[in-house]
């Protein structure tokens, strides 16, 4: 797991999991799996933008693109380039 995966996974755990025992990994479906509701994505988007100094347009911040930590990493890397 690279640094970005660790940072984002850690953020998702702290931000969205109510039960500390609940285990998720970089491929766990977050939105389609009911862990993150589409409303709550806004804080994740803001976190990514602040952390990586990027701007993600709303049309790119789709539930599909945010569904797993791995997909989020792919999206963020596209904007860092």
């Amino acid at each position: 797991m690279d640094d970005m995966q660790k940072i984002i996974l850690n953020y998702v755990k702290n931000e969205y999991l109510e039960d500390e025992d609940e285990e998720i990994d970089v491929n766990t479906p977050l939105i389609s799996g009911g862990i993150v509701d589409s409303f709550s994505m806004v804080s994740l988007k803001r976190f990514l933008e602040n952390k990586y100094k990027i701007s993600i347009p709303d049309e790119k911040a789709t539930p599909e693109a945010f569904d797993t930590v791995n997909k989020i990493c792919t999206l963020v890397k596209d904007f860092i380039k």
Partner: protein, 415 residues
């Protein structure tokens, strides 16, 4: 014909899928006024069964109170049946404005505007007072109608973990660049029966220059020493900027809702809130009934006091019997069963014992948190509660869940 066979079978399949997933909702026909004792036809076509109602929002037992019915009759006689208009064309009578003033006085706010329902109040208020420059920060367990209102508003939306004030503070800091920030919560959470910590929220709102919005539908009339609501319980009367509430629960249970709060916010709702502008005025007969309810509640706290005693008695009885309850001190008392099928089975068995209490499971509550939600009323007498307790004990024993821990119940029935 546009409604083709393909169209019909498509919809039939969707209904079939709802049934297959165990989420199909069936209405039960009540052949009586709303009360603690009712007669129910269920399933459809079966003979009537007398049951004790443990799932109505009739918290104060006023839904069929003779004084309320009499006042409604008088309203019908003196102000007619319908107004055939929205409020701002020719749908506002003297009694509408009187009721708005009475609600303002009752809630301790600056002004009030009536809506056809609290669902409509919640659907209309955010869009009327916020835009793209603003942010709405809501508790993750707020009612569905608030979520719909949020969806209709262009302001940004974020959430905080249920009743987690540290998380709320983080969010207020995160969105400190926004023009207006609104903290959004239920006063009493309808599925869990716990209350929002409004004193702490008000303190945070003052620190971060935010507004506080509270939907007090499951509180108005009985929470707080004189029943004014959750803001009274937490000693912040006059400090909540926006309260929405319903007349469809404790306050007579017919229909209607309102936005009450800062006068400029109420005025903007009058100018811009779409459910107010584009739906009919609340019927005079309903207004007259609600006005009588407020009169009764302003005279005496006897009903909310009885409700509080009933709820405490019920909680103690269930806890002593060995059930796991969601903690709280409101008349919403959820009996935790965790497994969805178990919740359905217990509800069915209770009904056979003459107790009407409904099971709730995903998606209404989170997965693995299925429950029977019981709701206590001032219309319940001790004999109702004792009979219901006996039935719960009998059914609990049958399913071998009395005195069991959450883990033991999960081991037996799964999540």
């Amino acid at each position: 014909m546009a409604y083709s066979t393909t169209m019909r079978t498509g919809y039939q399949q969707e209904i079939h899928d709802i049934k297959n997933s165990g989420l199909f909702k069936e209405e039960r026909f009540i052949h009586a006024p709303q009360a603690a004792d009712i007669e129910v036809e269920y399933p459809s076509g079966s003979s009537l069964k007398k049951v004790i109602n443990m799932c109505a929002n009739n918290y104060l037992g006023l839904s069929s109170h003779p004084d309320v019915i009499k006042a409604a009759h008088e309203g019908l006689d003196h102000r007619g049946y319908g107004m055939s208009s929205v409020r701002f064309i020719c749908g506002t009578q003297d009694i509408h404005r009187e009721l708005e003033q009475k609600m303002t006085d009752f809630l301790g706010t600056e002004d009030t505007i009536l809506f056809p329902s609290c669902m409509d109040a919640n659907a209309g208020v955010f869009e009327a007072i916020l835009n793209e420059q603003d942010v709405m920060i809501s508790d993750r367990l707020v009612h569905a109608s608030i979520i719909d209102g949020i969806r209709l508003c262009k302001a940004q939306h974020d959430t905080f973990k249920h009743s987690n004030m540290e998380h709320l503070e983080e969010k207020l800091q995160l969105h400190s660049d926004k023009r207006r920030k609104v903290i959004i919560t239920d006063g009493v959470f309808s599925m869990d029966g716990d209350t929002a910590q409004l004193d702490e929220m008000v303190a945070l709102a003052e620190k971060y220059d935010a507004l506080v919005f509270v939907d007090d539908s499951h509180a108005t009339g009985f929470i707080g020493k004189t029943g004014r609501g959750t803001h009274e319980k937490y000693n912040v009367v006059g400090k909540i900027d926006i309260i929405t509430t319903t007349f469809g629960k404790a306050l007579g249970g017919a229909s209607g809702g309102c936005v009450s709060g800062r006068k400029e916010i109420v005025e903007l709702c009058r100018q811009r809130a779409r459910p107010y502008l584009f739906s009919n005025t609340v019927a005079p007969v309903i207004i007259s009934g609600i006005t009588k309810v407020l009169e009764l509640l302003s005279k005496s706290t006897e009903r909310r006091d009885k409700l509080e005693q009933n709820a405490a008695y019920w909680r103690t009885g269930l806890t002593d019997a060995g059930f796991i309850l969601k903690e709280g001190d409101t008349p919403i008392v959820p009996v935790m069963l965790f497994n969805a099928k178990l919740a359905q089975d217990v509800s069915r068995d209770l009904y056979a014992e003459g107790i009407y209490a409904v099971g709730f499971f995903f998606p209404v509550v989170p997965k693995g948190q299925a429950r029977i939600r019981t709701q206590i009323s001032a219309g319940h007498d001790r004999h109702h509660l004792d009979k219901a307790l006996d039935a719960f004990k009998k059914v609990g024993k049958k399913h071998n869940i009395l005195g069991k821990t959450k883990q033991e119940m999960i081991d037996m029935y799964g999540l």
